[in-house]
Each structure stands twice: as structure tokens, then as C-alpha cells.
């Protein structure tokens, strides 16, 4: 088992966060959040990986075949659904923000400064 997928997951999370911090456009911000979330897919799938194993579909393989862990695949699917929901909500908010604030640059949103 190689450590490469775990490094990729860490990199994706950090690069997504970097994008969130430096973003000048809310659409870009939402995309960066999705990038950070892709880290979770990579990590989950890496956790369930088994060398030489096949997909966990038991219809046409003999009993006892090595398969990868189906649980993490189910988790990833759930995660993708969550991501779709949150991205949709955020993009809808972005459209409304453009209508009401006239900008999608987070640096110019100053209605909540303390």
C-alpha cells in the first residue's frame, strides 16, 4: 500500500483551503470548497483499497474473491450527495449576492464587519 493517495488527499485539502483564503470571486470560492472536499473522496477510497482486488459486485464473481471495501464507497457516494446539495445552496446564495451587493468579490462584502 503506497502513501501516495494520502499525500494527494492532504494536498487537495490544503490547496482547496489556500484557494478559499485567497479567493477574489465567490464562484471560485465555491469551487475551492469542492476541491477541499475531493480530499475526502480520495482518502476514503484509499482507505478501502486492497491490492489485486476487484469491485465489490458479487453477481458474477466466485465466492471468496478479494474485493475492495464497499463501505467506504457507500460513504463516498453519500459524501457526493452532500457536496451536490451544499454546492447548489452556495451557488444560489452567490447569485443572490451578486443581485443584492453588485459584486462577487468577498473582499468587497463588508456588511458584517464588527
Amino acid at each position: 500500500m503506497t502513501t501516495l493517495p494520502y499525500l494527494v488527499a492532504g494536498w487537495l485539502f490544503l490547496v482547496g483551503c489556500y484557494g478559499l483564503v485567497t479567493s477574489h470571486n465567490l464562484v471560485h470560492t465555491v469551487a475551492c470548497l469542492t476541491v477541499a472536499q475531493s480530499a475526502t473522496y480520495v482518502l476514503l477510497l484509499a482507505v478501502g483499497f486492497r491490492a489485486g482486488a476487484t469491485a465489490p459486485v458479487f453477481a458474477d464473481v466466485p465466492v471468496g474473491t478479494r474485493v475492495v471495501d464497499p463501505v467506504v464507497q457507500a460513504l463516498s457516494l453519500t459524501d457526493i450527495v452532500v457536496a451536490a446539495t451544499v454546492t447548489a445552496v452556495l451557488l444560489a446564495l452567490t447569485i443572490q449576492i451578486y443581485k443584492r451587493h453588485g459584486t462577487v468579490n468577498p473582499d468587497e462584502l463588508r456588511t458584517l464587519q464588527d
Binding site: 470560492t29 475526502t40 451544499v86 449576492i97 443584492r100 462584502l109
Partner: protein, 605 residues
């Protein structure tokens, strides 16, 4: 165990989900009355069932395996709800607050569409599910469900500028926190091969603490503490509370934030304790609690926007909750559980009062409203009483919970915590009283607040200014306050709460109930109730709160005495306020800092 009780936990989640789906599909054609009645009925159904569960958990944990996948020889492929007294109590609290919010909404939004009710019911389902689940990944799903719904509820007034920004900050920060949790869940699953709390616990027993599991735990806790608004993960809270509709704020401050802390307590006690002994978790929680309490109290004093003021008071209270939780002992956590319920009732009443003010006067700004609300008699009494209760006025539930938590903390050797708790509750209560005295009594002079987030540009949530406050808006306010008051007077409550906390902290009992079918719990031993010194300290913190309020109101008269406030005093304040910039990128940086500190904290202790 009678099968009916076992069937309840999944139903508590399913009923509001199904009703929400039906309302979402048919809301356009249904009359308003039907929508109101259907959502209220399903909420009351959840409330009633939670009370039944609460009664049933006195003698045993209620365990329910979905789809009948009961464990064989201690292992199962199924997903489980494990309900003990704290979980059932939280479900009851959630349902009660949702009922109050729905009653208030009856006349609050005049053009409310069925979407609001749909969202509130989904929120109810997510929160109850999170409180009852016994599975790490299910906890994440419910956590995300309540998150996504909460973002939408925050931005409910979608035609206005501020709610949009507040909802966006809230959504991005909380989602990022939730992804941290999911990464952590992935790491823990990778090491243990289990997702159920009880199974993880058994897999971790006997293992040496390895860094991978610790990082996983720190990541899971980061997500929970973002929701739980521990400094420096709290920045979303004030932005979201300032702009969300008032009945939604009741749910946010009253129970959603506290559920974040519950997540930490539950996952630690039921799953992670074998690799993270109490001695290692305790200093981390307490340090986070102290910083959170101090920052919350300081920021609370500096606000003139009523809802932001109440939001920062919640941050201050979360700090106190973290300290009490950090003791990781039944006495302090028993007090904490009463404190949380009392706080929810009182804070809920205060948020609803500010909603009444917003609708009656079109503003929630302390300076602009100076003396403007003298003719709102019921709201005036409730708001001021709420301020006193927040400062722990005996015999409110806030006082009972706080005094029991203080006793527990000082028995555990944390005497300093007592002073901090008194100070923070006096400051936050004092800030509320100051604002209340200005608005409702016309005391003092309007503060000078150039360049802050002001409450004066808020749009009222009804399109007309209400001439007379509808009774459906005042009933929940009075009911919440009365509930907070009664809570402190229930005989035997300290014993029940102590017992509930012992259940929460009983690691092996939890696993045995989930996996071995041994669900009976020991009957409670009577515990100490409040003491005379606790009563006096409650009075003391109320007096201190009055001093804080008076100082805020009349400080300008003594300004000549201190010709110049030294920068040592003002600089930290100014730095703190600059940090609350409302800028998303800044908040993400703070989140990463908080995550790193938490990981380091758990690693070095």
C-alpha cells in the same frame, strides 16, 4: 424491552422527514393553516415521543438497530440508535424549541411560504438524529443535514444583502469543518474498520495511542467544535445569528451550537476514550473553554446590534459549557446539562423578544432604539427578566445548572473555574441588561458606535409594522421564560441530571448496551442539590451584572476622571474586533489555526 419504545428513535427522525417531504411537494396548493397545523402536529409528536423515551431511559438504554440487523456475538453490519438519558433529553429540548419557534412564526412572517416549515422540520430531523445516533458516519450525515438546512434558514430573507453574506460565511466555514470531520472519520475507519461508536471503542481498547488515530480524532472534533463555536472556530456564529430570522436564532443558539459540544462528549465517551484518556482531553477542552468564554464576554460588551450581542453571549456561554464539560466528571456535566436547557429557554426568549422589537420598531440597534420600546410592556418585562436569568438569577434553571457545575468543578480541583463562570455570566447578563435598560427604559444615553455593524438597517420580517403584538408571538416568549424558571424548581432534578451524566460517561455500559443487549443502567444514587453558598453566588453574579449594566450606561459621566484610557486596555479590544472582519478568507485561516492548535493540543498533553 417493549418493542414500541424500541421503534421510537427511528420514528423521531422519520416523521418530520416524511412530513417535510409531503409539505415540500404540496405546499403550493395547501392553505397556510394546514401547513402550520401539519408541521406543528409532527413537531408535537416528536416532543411526546421524546418525553416517552426520556421516561424509558431512567432504567435502561433504548437500543434500536435499523432494519433488524441486531448484533450476533457482539458484531453487526447494521446501523444503530443508542438512546440514553442525555440523548433523550436533548431530543426533548430540540422538539420543545422547534414548537416554540413554529408558534412564534404563525404571525411573524406574514408571507411565509411552506418552505420555512419544510426547512424547520428537516432541521428538527437532523438535530434529533444527531442526538440519538450511535454511529460515526450517521452522525456526520445528520450533522451535514442540519448544517445544510441551517444555511438555507440563515439566508431565508433572500432578497436582502446581509442575510446572504451571513449565510455564505456560515455555510463555507461549517462545510469545511464538516469535511475535516469526514477526513477524521476516514482515518479512524481505516485504522479500526468500524463506524459504530461502540465497535470503534472495542477496536481501540488495548491499542497504543498512535498518531494516526489522534489526528483523526482531532479532525472529527474540529468539525464538531466549528458547530460548537469554540474560539477561534466561532466566527460564523455572530454573522449567522445577526441575520437569521429570530425564531431560527432560537434553534441555533438554544441547541444547535450545544449539539456540537455534545458530539465531542459523545464520541469521546462512547468511542475514542481508550486512546485519549480524560487527562489528555481535559486540558484541551478547558483551555478552549477559557479562551472562548473570555472572547465571547468581551465581544458581547462591545455590541450595539441586539442579535449580535445575544450571539456573542452564546459564545461566552459555550466557553463556560466547554469548561464544565472539560471536567469530564458526572457532577459538573450533570450541572452542565441543566445549564444548557436553562440557557436554551432564556436565550430563546431573549431572541424572540428582539424579534418582537424588530417587527414593532424596524430596528434592533441599541442606540437607535433608545427609549423607543417603553410601550411594549410584556416584551419589556420578559427581556429584562431574561437578562437577569442569563446572569444566573435564582431560581432559574441557568442558576441551578451553573451552581451545580461550579460545585462539580471545585470538587474536581478547578476552583478558578468558579470565578470565571461568575464573571462571564455577570458580563453577558450585564450586557443584555444594559441594552434592555436603554431600549425599554430609556436609561443612560445612546452609545457612540460609529462604523460598527449596526442593527438599524435591518428589515423587519413582517411587511407592515405590527400595531399590536400578536399573542402567538408573546406566548412562546412567556412560555420559554416560565420553562426556564420552572426548571430550577423541579425537585430531584439534580439527581436525575447527575445520573444522566454518569450514563453519558459510562464507556463500557454504552458498548454493552449497543452490542451485547445489556441495556439496564444502575438506579441513580441521590446527589447533593444546591447549597446556600451557591444561592449567594447566584445573587452575587446578578449584582455584578447590574454593576456591568450600570457602568455601560453611565460610564461617560466619569470619563473626565480617566482623561485617557491607556492603550494597554483598548488594544486587545480593538484587535479582537478587527479579527471579526466578516471576511470569509480570514475565517478559513482561523479555522486552520484552530484545527492545528487542537491537533497539537491533543498530541502534547
Amino acid at each position: 424491552m417493549p418493542p414500541t419504545v424500541q421503534a421510537l428513535p427511528p420514528l423521531l427522525v422519520a416523521v418530520p422527514l416524511v412530513v417535510a417531504a409531503v409539505l415540500a411537494a404540496s405546499g403550493r396548493v395547501l392553505p397556510r393553516l394546514v401547513i402550520d397545523a401539519a408541521s406543528m402536529l409532527s413537531c408535537l409528536l416528536v416532543l411526546g415521543s421524546s418525553v416517552v423515551l426520556l421516561a424509558a431511559t431512567g432504567s435502561r438504554r433504548v437500543v434500536s438497530w435499523l432494519g433488524g440487523y441486531s448484533p450476533v456475538d457482539g458484531s453487526s453490519v447494521g446501523v444503530v440508535f443508542v438512546v440514553d438519558r442525555i440523548g433523550a433529553g436533548l431530543a426533548t429540548l430540540i422538539a420543545a424549541l422547534v414548537a416554540a419557534a413554529l408558534t412564534y412564526t404563525w404571525r411573524y412572517f406574514d408571507e411565509v411560504e411552506s418552505y420555512f416549515h419544510v426547512l424547520v422540520l428537516l432541521f428538527l430531523a437532523g438535530m434529533v438524529g444527531f442526538a440519538l445516533t450511535g454511529d460515526l458516519f450517521n452522525a456526520f450525515v445528520f450533522f451535514e443535514l442540519m448544517g445544510a438546512v441551517a444555511y438555507a434558514l440563515t439566508g431565508y430573507k433572500i432578497e436582502e444583502a446581509k442575510p446572504l453574506q451571513g449565510a455564505l460565511n456560515f455555510a463555507v466555514i461549517n462545510s469545511l469543518g464538516a469535511y475535516c470531520s469526514l477526513l477524521g472519520i476516514g482515518l479512524i475507519y481505516g485504522r479500526t474498520g468500524e463506524l459504530g461508536f461502540a465497535q470503534i471503542q472495542r477496536a481501540l481498547i488495548g491499542q497504543s495511542t498512535d498518531w494516526l488515530v489522534l489526528v483523526g480524532i482531532a479532525l472529527v472534533f474540529t468539525g464538531f467544535l466549528v458547530k460548537g463555536a469554540a474560539v477561534p472556530l466561532h466566527f460564523w456564529l455572530a454573522d449567522a445569528h445577526a441575520v437569521a430570522p429570530s425564531p431560527v436564532c432560537v434553534l441555533f443558539s438554544g441547541v444547535m451550537v450545544e449539539l456540537g459540544l455534545y458530539g465531542v462528549a459523545r464520541t469521546w465517551s462512547a468511542a475514542f476514550w481508550p486512546v485519549l484518556p480524560a487527562e489528555r482531553l481535559r486540558p484541551v477542552l478547558m483551555a478552549a473553554g477559557v479562551v472562548t468564554a473570555v472572547v465571547g464576554a468581551a465581544m458581547c460588551l462591545a455590541q450595539s446590534h441586539l442579535k449580535r450581542l445575544l450571539a456573542f453571549s452564546t459564545v461566552g456561554h459555550v466557553g463556560m459549557f466547554l469548561i464544565a464539560l472539560g471536567a469530564l466528571e458526572p457532577a459538573a456535566i450533570g450541572g452542565l446539562s441543566i445549564y444548557v436547557v436553562g440557557h436554551a429557554a432564556v436565550k430563546g426568549a431573549l431572541f424572540l423578544c428582539s424579534g418582537v422589537v424588530l417587527n414593532a420598531r424596524g430596528s434592533v440597534d441599541e442606540a437607535e432604539l433608545h427609549g423607543q420600546c417603553r410601550n411594549l410592556p410584556v416584551t419589556r418585562i420578559c427581556f429584562l427578566l431574561g437578562g437577569l436569568a442569563l446572569a444566573a438569577l435564582p431560581p432559574f434553571g441557568t442558576w441551578l445548572g451553573k451552581t451545580l457545575a461550579e460545585d462539580g468543578l471545585s470538587h474536581g480541583g478547578f476552583d478558578w473555574a468558579e470565578y470565571l463562570l461568575i464573571g462571564v455570566s455577570a458580563i453577558t447578563g450585564g450586557a443584555v441588561l444594559r441594552a434592555g435598560a436603554r431600549i425599554f427604559l430609556g436609561a443612560g444615553t445612546p452609545p457612540d458606535t460609529e462604523g460598527d455593524t449596526r442593527g438599524s438597517e435591518e428589515q423587519p420580517e413582517t411587511t407592515y409594522h405590527l400595531g399590536k403584538i400578536p399573542v402567538t408571538m408573546l406566548v412562546p416568549v412567556v412560555a420559554l421564560l416560565a420553562g426556564g424558571l420552572t426548571l430550577g424548581l423541579v425537585p430531584g432534578l439534580p439527581t436525575l441530571a447527575h445520573d444522566a451524566a454518569s450514563q453519558l460517561l459510562d464507556h463500557t455500559g454504552y458498548a454493552a448496551a449497543a452490542l451485547d443487549g445489556v441495556s439496564a443502567v444502575p438506579s441513580p444514587a441521590p446527589t447533593e442539590s444546591w447549597t446556600l453558598s451557591g444561592l449567594l453566588l447566584g445573587v452575587l453574579s446578578v449584582l455584578l451584572a447590574l454593576v456591568v449594566a450600570a457602568t455601560g450606561l453611565y460610564l461617560h459621566r466619569f470619563r473626565r476622571l480617566f482623561s485617557q484610557v491607556p492603550p494597554v486596555v483598548t488594544l486587545p479590544f480593538r484587535a479582537l474586533r478587527t479579527a471579526h472582519s466578516g471576511h470569509l478568507g480570514d475565517y478559513v485561516v482561523w479555522l486552520l489555526i484552530g484545527m492545528t492548535l487542537l491537533t497539537i493540543g491533543l498530541a502534547i498533553t
